[in-house]
Amino acid sequence: MSPTPLKAHTDRQYDAQLDDLRARLLDMARRVEEMIANSVRALVNRDAALARRTIEDDHQVNRCEVEADELCLLILAKRQPMASDLRFLTLALKMVTDLERIGDLAVNICERAIDLSHVPEVKPWEEIPGMAAIVRAMVREAIDAFISRDVVKAQQVIDWDDEVDAQYRHVVLDLINVMVNDRSTVESGVMIQSVVKWLERMADHTTNIAEQVIFMVRGKDIRHLGKLPNQV
């Protein structure tokens, strides 16, 4: 489905408010994407200083969440949006929660990166930067899909989640083998397991956003498709 161009509202102030909200969401997504990259870079490079700076960045993401929420409430109260505008607003409200949660998970990874920087390295985890790269790409594409109202791109993000899940299972099996063979690696191994779990959770939050983009564009809810009682 090709993206549908947005027609302007008769009231241009309304368009300006919606544009402002879009810009804030973009800014928040950009910050979150950077946090994912930096958290994994801090882990791989055993760079505690970068991890601490990245934790500080989360305050900005939280501020973005509060401001976007306030703007959503203001638009709901003043404009009483309908149809695709209403779907956009509800998406925005959910998206900021998902983005904020991804930021929190990046903070968790940073905290583990600091802990792991003090203990000997078990082995280089080459899959983790690869996983993180896919998650970053998912965030970027989900936001692109949101901006350009592109359901094909949104579906691609949803499909990538399977790839992240497969990598997660692969790394966990690998970790179990390492820990079984060498009990001294258990402490670090459990921490690494947490890191990959959080990356996998980030992909799930991004999938939520992509599903909401499809709802925004098509007006059709694809979440839990065929898995809910009485669902057509």
């Binding site: 027609k7 309304y14 309908m82 149809a83």
Partner: protein
Amino acid sequence: MASAGAPTAPEKLRMTQSAHSRPGRPRENSVNSEEAATKFRVRRLAAWFGSQQVLHGLDLDISKQRVTAIIGPSGCGKSTFIRCLNRMHELVPSARVGGEVRLDDEDIYGPGVDPVLLRRRVGMVFQKPNPFPSMSIRDNVLAGLRLTHQLARAHANEINEKALRSAALWDEVKDRLDEPGAGLSGGQQQRLCIARALAVEPDVLLMDEPCSALDPIATARIEDLIHTLRERYTIVIVTHNMQQAARVSDRTAFLLTGELVEYAPTDRIFTAPSDKRTEDYITGKFG
């Protein structure tokens, strides 16, 4: 069909004769049932003012004991449409109607239908509250009935109280029934007009922008009243207020330049309409 000519001998719509003597008549469908029976069946409805055609072949069914909202930009034919449902359109000189409107499966433009009796079954509330200014509150309520009935005093009082209670006005006016209706607030006057319409025990209430002259509190009272009246009456409401249509109605019809663009459950129309023109209208991107 059915050009709007003078009625001949009353036929089936004469069955509605002493409408107010039918209190508590059983309804075929409870308000909670999923599928409501059809009250109005409208087919190929067209309407003209002189040579100007304002409705172009509308097809839709209006459900019994449901609220149906008609929305659309000014001049799209909303008011003309509902005035075709009780044959008020034909009261305008040079106005004509074509197509078919069936009320409970009876052609309201059929031979022998008495428009006066039809309008008792299909009452109307207008944009501006229009009580008779010199009449008392009580006489305003009974005005419609007295056109065709001699009322005994006790019976008149009973009907008066029942209609005012149904219109959620009784508690506010019960101690001043003999005072002029014009002395009431705008919102109270509108509920008085609703009481007047209800006094003749109609099946259907047509409301033509009933809240456009009212403040938000009076509007909320009318909307609350619509919710209550829905249990007994079929309601068709024309409104320019999208939020009002979304709040009060079960189904919404969007008209544009005299054509029916979309007719669907209200929840659907205001969250994910099917037609791009509906989407543009309700999101304020029109023109």
